[in-house]
Symmetry: C2
Subunit: 419 residues, 2 copies
């Protein structure tokens, strides 16, 4: 097996669920033709985490081979949102919000993807001038039955749950994006397979070379169970500081180790096989592998020195029971007198504070953390478990949330008075 064949094999397997059609992709990769690699950006979800990085690193790898990334900002769809208002995941955004979110997204995106080999296109370039006639002509190319082949559509239709007519239009719009940018390959999660194949079909109908479709695996969250997502609060964000990235990686269950190594690092396939064997034979302490994983991930985004430093801090605070360094603590100032409605004697409902500080994904997550005793007040050598939904806080209190995360409470009123 030549070096180039091995590289090709890694491209078509690592983190990949399916390539349609795979042989065509292999052939076109060997042909040396420069490919346009399409990825859609949803401006309603501006935060990137290492779950996304799997896909971004695939794009970067292909860029380094000379291919062109085309990033499509879904500004038009985001501004329309889901007019039925049934889906929380598709809120309507103003033009300013879309712009701000897209900038946030791209700032993170270009930590991994090469900006110089990326063409950024805004959906409104082509949809802004779309007329009713354009919509009708586009809609005429597909039948109701074709759209109802999409699993979630069919299930809802058959279960007599409402399926809006506009929802049938969205896959067509995403498909039209592929036509507008003359996409050669589109990337997405497995939930995008249907829409991407509609793009392939539409391109063919409109006389273009049909795009190849690339579905990528999704990394599980730090809980090792659910999909990594902001709403579940189980993400490792691209912009988390090094210590937080390190700590979050250390919190994943051992069962998720191999997946993280395969999808989130550049550790080679051969070495992966070796590590898997070691873990199966129990000839290595999983904690050591996890530290290697955490180092790899921190180093990828912040460099080797930051990785070593994060590891040292982790060993000091967590493994040897020391106090966290100032850089490992999230500082969360709020007005004791005006925010969170103190219930007398500075007693606060804890759940909304944990959510707003970014330590819980939702109110129910926050309540679960409290119920499970995972929130503690750090006092000298021992910690006090905060098992109650309401707790008395003092400015300067440090809370420990889970094993590896620390929150410093600051009364913004006092800060203002003293400064």
């Amino acid at each position: 097996v030549s070096k180039s064949d091995a590289a090709t094999k890694e491209i078509v397997t690592r983190g990949v669920i399916e390539i349609v059609p795979e042989q065509e992709f292999v052939d076109v990769l060997r042909s040396g033709r420069k490919l346009r690699l399409k990825l859609g950006l949803d401006p309603s979800k501006p935060d990137l985490h290492i779950g996304h990085a799997v896909l971004l690193r695939k794009l970067r790898l292909l860029q380094d081979m000379g291919h062109q990334v085309v990033l499509i900002v879904g500004d038009w769809t985001a501004q329309i949102g889901d007019p039925s208002g049934q889906s929380v995941q598709r809120p309507m955004l103003t033009a300013d919000e879309v712009k701000a979110n897209a900038e946030t997204y791209m700032r993170q995106f270009f930590h991994v993807v090469d900006r110089d080999k990326t063409e950024v296109r805004w959906q409104s370039e082509w949809f802004g001038g779309f007329t009713l006639a354009d919509v009708v002509r586009l809609a005429a190319r597909f039948t109701v039955a074709q759209m109802l082949q999409r699993e979630d559509f069919r299930q809802r239709f058959e279960a007599h749950q409402p399926l809006g007519i506009h929802e049938l239009l969205y896959p067509l719009l995403q498909a039209y994006d592929s036509v507008a940018v003359q996409s050669d390959v589109e990337f997405g999660g497995s939930d995008q397979l249907f829409n991407m194949l509609v793009g392939r079909e539409l391109q063919q109908e409109m006389g273009q070379r049909p795009q190849i479709v690339f579905t990528m695996r999704l990394l599980t969250g730090t809980d090792g169970a659910q999909k990594m997502s902001k709403s579940t609060g189980n993400t490792i964000d691209l912009e988390d500081p090094p210590g937080e990235k390190y700590g979050k990686v250390m919190s994943i269950p051992d069962s998720a180790l191999m997946d993280y190594l395969e999808l989130a690092t550049d550790v080679g396939d051969e070495e992966l096989a070796y590590i898997r064997k070691q873990l199966e034979e129990r000839s290595v302490n999983p904690m050591e592998i996890k530290k290697r994983l955490a180092r790899e991930i921190v180093a990828m985004f912040h460099g080797e020195a930051a990785a070593r430093e994060a590891e040292a801090a982790f060993e000091r605070v967590i493994q040897r029971g020391g106090t966290p360094g100032e850089d490992e603590v999230t500082v969360f100032p709020f007005s004791f007198s005006r925010q969170y409605k103190a219930l007398g004697d500075n007693r606060f409902k804890m759940a909304p504070i944990l959510v707003d500080a970014g330590l819980a994904g939702s109110m129910s997550d926050a309540r679960r953390l409290i119920d499970q005793g995972a929130v503690e007040l750090m006092v000298g050598q021992g910690n006090i478990r905060i098992g109650e939904p309401i707790w008395q806080l003092r400015s300067g209190d440090t809370l420990r949330v889970g094993k590896h995360r620390f929150l410093r409470i600051v009364d913004a009123d006092r800060e203002t008075k003293t400064s």
Copy 2:
């Protein structure tokens, strides 16, 4: 029963299949509120016949009571047509064709409907500026399941026949017309019931008073069997000359007599009941009733004198075997040397000539007329039956088609030379 009650009763029953909701219509009629009566004009079908007149006369009656007709020219839909190209009934028209057809339609329309109490609106007023966002918001108001309640949609969907996504949009567009013109009552055939009810629902959703829906009966064609339509060639056109109208009415079967009297004349309900009784008891010759019907119809469009004249001509030519007057003959000039490819000795295929002269609705209709011996060459006292598909013609020949229609063949080449 007061006179006004009787008038209301006639409005809500004569020619009516269904009013949804009927009581609401009766109440609003009594309230004295001025109503906006919506009717859609399909510019791909510019020819009006007395089958349409049933509906037009209902509009006229309501206008005379003070209400306002809103005629919507479907110019936008006609220009888009059916992009799937599957339906012959929805050809795509140019803007010029739409304009010309709409003018033809309106010229006929205003033979019956009062022009001064009619507001003409063009669909493109509101759809010309429709954006993709407008379409998505409109589409979001209805579900796929709702649209599949339409009988023809459901049948095609269940039979696995293609149902284009754009086809689900058309009822929404027609519904939006109702919103745009703030329709109070919409009129249409029974095939329009679903679309009109969608309009009612959309108006309600968009905060308007929902329109009342009026489905009207369709008059059968002169064959007494099929729906009156140009494609079947069984129409009595609003612009047919008096003699032709009279003759066509006389050709309907006796079984269609009562329907024609009810739907196409103003003969009162009481008198209708009396005639029905006479016919059932065979105490009257149906031919006499038919002549009354023909007189009524001709008089409605051309006045009493024209009606008497048409009757006299009919009696002379048809009933007593005379020759037709010049005004009863359709003159059809064509170039013997360049049109219809003469097959030697001025022998012509007869079917296309009958179609183009307007005496047959289609080639198959024309062939059937010939096969049945319904086409004759008039020569002096006796006629020669043209039973062959190909026939030798001379300029000046008069053909009799069916009982009551006459066609004069003219060689346009000779006309040109002599003039």
